[in-house]
């Protein structure tokens, strides 16, 4: 039996993963969640037919969303995470003793429940006493909050569907307001490679540039995502992502990682020319 999971990366490009078993499927008004076992990527979770994470490469994504901002401001104590109901980002954050609270907003409770059952090694982080999970609309949660968080991590599922509101100007504006004077926001920024993704990346970048005084983009290699090449956004009120990195201080923390290093940190903000250009194109259009 040949059993393949196929995702359309563009209308003209397919990405297929050979599957051993279809373990789980459930659908509600927020979308359809499926979990598969595969020989190459291990167990993976898809929402509405798009791979959200795989056991094999989630470490790259989760480490890059967590350690890059934490290394710039290791004093961060109060963290807010949008999405990431699988617990991967929280697992990385819990490696910092200094963090006091992690508030996690995951509107799709089904994802949290499915992950607790099928990815217990990731989701067990969600049971840490420092973590509080809220299942409500992200915009509703954040719009009345002011000056409370040191770091906001935006792990949106994609540009369409229920996660769409995490890519809007009103959302970034609300994040700015909810951050302290030296607050940092990081977000996943899609891939710059395929045309449609690129346009959305540019739109999101423009909105962040308009909302934060400092806004930079960094990159990582994530094999299971469209084009395998992925961007992240680093926006802040005060800290600059490379100049303000205290590599020695972070290395003294002795945190074990599989992708992130302080050397990689310095390099990941160096972008290919075509990406620099597409970002510069929208940075110019300031209000």
């Amino acid at each position: 039996m040949e059993f393949w999971f196929t995702e359309l990366h563009t209308p003209h490009v397919k990405f297929s993963v050979k599957v051993d078993k279809h373990l789980y499927s459930s659908e509600n008004d927020l979308g359809r969640v499926d979990i598969f076992d595969s020989p190459e990527f291990g167990r993976f979770l898809a929402v509405d037919g798009y791979i959200i994470f795989t056991q094999r490469d989630e470490f790259i994504y989760d480490e890059m969303l967590s350690h890059v901002p934490m290394a710039v401001n290791p004093k961060a104590e109060r963290i807010l995470v949008f999405g990431s109901g699988d617990g991967g980002v929280v697992r990385e954050l819990l490696k910092y003793q200094s963090i006091k609270t992690i508030d996690l907003i995951e509107i799709n409770e089904g994802v949290v429940q499915a992950c607790r059952q099928y990815f217990p090694e990731m989701a067990e982080s969600l049971d840490d006493p420092r973590v509080t999970i809220y299942t409500e609309n992200a915009l509703r949660f954040i719009r009345h909050i002011e000056n409370e968080y040191d770091l906001i991590i935006v792990d949106s599922a994609g540009f369409y569907g229920p996660g769409e509101s995490l890519l809007t100007r009103e959302f970034y504006g609300s994040c700015y307001k909810a951050l302290k004077a030296d607050g940092i926001m990081v977000n996943q920024h899609q891939s710059p490679f395929y045309e449609e993704d690129r346009i959305e990346t540019q739109k999101a970048h423009k909105r962040i540039v308009n909302s934060f005084p400092i806004s930079r983009v960094y990159q990582a290699h994530i094999p299971s995502y469209p084009s395998g090449y992925w961007l992240f956004g680093f926006a802040s009120k005060k800290f600059r992502p490379v100049i303000d990195l205290d590599a020695d201080a972070w290395n003294r923390l002795g945190i074990k990682t599989d992708y992130y290093t302080t050397n990689l940190h310095k390099g990941c903000f160096a972008l290919p020319a075509y990406v620099e250009r597409m970002l510069a194109d929208v940075e110019k259009i300031k209000d």
């Binding site: 915009l139 509703r140 509101s165 809007t168 009103e170 504006g173 609300s174 307001k177 308009n210």
Partner: protein, 485 residues
């Protein structure tokens, strides 16, 4: 009657199955002759773009499936007769006016009527008797007609043949329609109701009274607004004292003889949808609107108004699905908030005027988009709010009617002069501020300095001005100075 039926829709399904070979119009022949049109609209849609024929009936003279669809609609709306309209609610409104009055006759109406009403007067030569609606000076919006004002208009114009009423206004405000119908009928006048914004009144619970329930003679219902049908499709409803045959003749004076079956079918299935599920659908719409009002009022600085405006007379009732927000207290004109929402937040509202923005909440809305709207308003206040001094907040201007719209529109002695120089002159064309499309000037009205100031201010704030022959709206056509009227 069985409201689960949709006769036109069913006939179209049947027609599709029969695979009839077309040697008739439209010439694209199920899209084969225009592949780009097919890729834009989809095969299914283009295949249904067909001509009137025996199995599909004819909108000019319905005898089979369209007639059945009209009967079902009449029952659903509680009307004696319903007409499917394909020229927008504009055509329904014009039919009402052309049915009720003719040249030399008077028709009583509030000034905040839609342009289509006055356009109909240009066509038929009747004289408008304007009842000045009350205005809410704080919000700067026109309200409903007070009963005392309607009584006075009737007393002063006993020869008027009809009264036209908005139910509700663009802003969701209702007059005491039942009482107006009583007054009109006691004085031998017809009651015409513009229910462009009132489709849902016929289906939801706890809604203001509908024209048909209030005993009005005719009503124009924009099914494509809150009813969910395709843009440009609409219903004209009539009461028991109106001859449907005569109304059909009036409709046929101006209606196309090639009515679109996409529009007709959309009316048919939308009526079915609302008849079967309207109560629940509009309950949800009301819940969303209420939630949004509460959340927006929590922000501070904005005022999203609701039933508290009701005062028993000029605001006799209020449409609970309307989400109108007063913005001047954060120092921004409504039109500025409207533009910011579109340009900066990718959110398109229904209208922005001097003091308000209106978000249209309907059966297609979801909570997640409402959360975006609320948060965007929050963010706009944080980033753009200003001191409110210098903001112009007067919206309603009392017109001075010097001649009928028809006389003025066709007046031979006209000249085009810059707006700033028109004080005291008689305008021969329309001037509308869009949205909401309520005339600032109609043909035959005297221009005042107040009007000029308002127009220049609206232009500066980015309102879209339409109507005049001069498309840049720098000049207006007026009656020549030496002409005496």
């Amino acid at each position: 009657m069985d409201q689960r039926r949709a006769p036109v829709y069913e006939a179209l399904q049947e027609f599709r199955r029969n695979r009839v070979v077309p040697f008739d119009v439209p010439g694209h022949k199920r899209g084969r002759g225009n592949p780009e049109l097919v890729s834009l609209l989809g095969k299914q849609c283009v295949e249904l773009d067909v001509n009137s024929m025996k199995p599909l009936d004819n909108l000019c003279h319905p005898i089979s499936v369209i007639k059945e669809a009209e009967n079902l609609a009449a029952e659903a709306f509680g009307a004696a007769h319903a007409f499917l309209m394909v020229g927008g609610t504009t055509s329904a409104v014009q039919t009402m006016v052309l049915t009720a009055c003719k040249s030399g006759e008077k028709i009583i109406m509030p000034r905040n009527v839609h342009r289509s009403v006055i356009n109909a007067l240009v066509v038929n030569g009747a004289t408008p008797i304007y009842v000045n609606p009350e205005t809410d000076n704080h919000l700067g919006i026109a309200l409903g007609m007070k009963i005392s004002q309607v009584e006075r208009a009737i007393e002063e114009n006993p020869d008027a043949v009809a009264i036209l009423v908005n139910n509700p206004t663009y802003y969701g405000i209702c007059s005491n329609l039942k009482r107006i119908v009583e007054l009109a009928h006691e004085n031998g006048m017809m009651v015409l109701v513009d229910e462009a914004h009132g489709t849902h009144f016929y289906f939801g619970d706890d809604m203001p009274v509908t024209a048909m329930a209030a005993g009005a003679d005719m009503s124009s219902v924009s099914m494509h607004k809150s009813g969910g049908s395709l843009t440009q499709s609409s219903f004209l409803l009539t009461g028991p004292n109106v001859s449907p045959g005569y109304v059909r003749q009036v409709i046929n004076l101006t209606q196309t003889t090639s009515a679109s079956y996409l529009l007709i079918a959309s009316l048919d299935i939308s009526r079915r949808n609302l008849a079967l599920r309207g109560k629940d659908l509009f309950k949800e719409v009301m819940r969303i609107a209420d939630y949004a009002r509460t959340e927006i009022n929590k922000i501070g600085g904005y005022y999203a108004y609701g039933k508290e405006l009701i005062n028993g007379d000029s605001v006799y009732d209020f449409d609970p699905t309307k989400l109108t927000v007063y913005t001047l207290d954060i120092g921004l004109a409504g039109i500025e908030v409207y533009d910011l929402l579109r340009d900066e937040y990718d959110i398109q509202l229904e209208l922005g005027d001097m003091g308000n923005v209106l978000a249209y909440i309907s059966i297609g809305d979801r909570m997640r988009e409402v959360e975006r709207l609320v948060s965007a308003l929050f963010d706009i206040k944080r980033l753009y709010s200003k001191d409110r001094t210098g903001l112009f907040d007067h919206e309603y201007i009392t017109p001075s009617v010097v001649m009928t719209p028809q006389e003025a529109f066709y007046a031979p002695k006209e000249e085009m002069i810059p707006i700033r120089e028109t004080n005291g002159r008689i305008c021969t064309e329309f001037l509308m501020c869009y949205p909401p499309g309520i005339p600032i000037l109609a043909p035959g009205e005297r221009i005042t300095q107040e009007i000029i100031d308002y127009v220049l201010y609206a232009k500066e704030k980015g309102c879209q001005l339409t109507g005049p022959e001069d498309e840049k709206v720098e000049c207006l056509n007026v009656i020549k100075e030496h002409a005496t009227y």
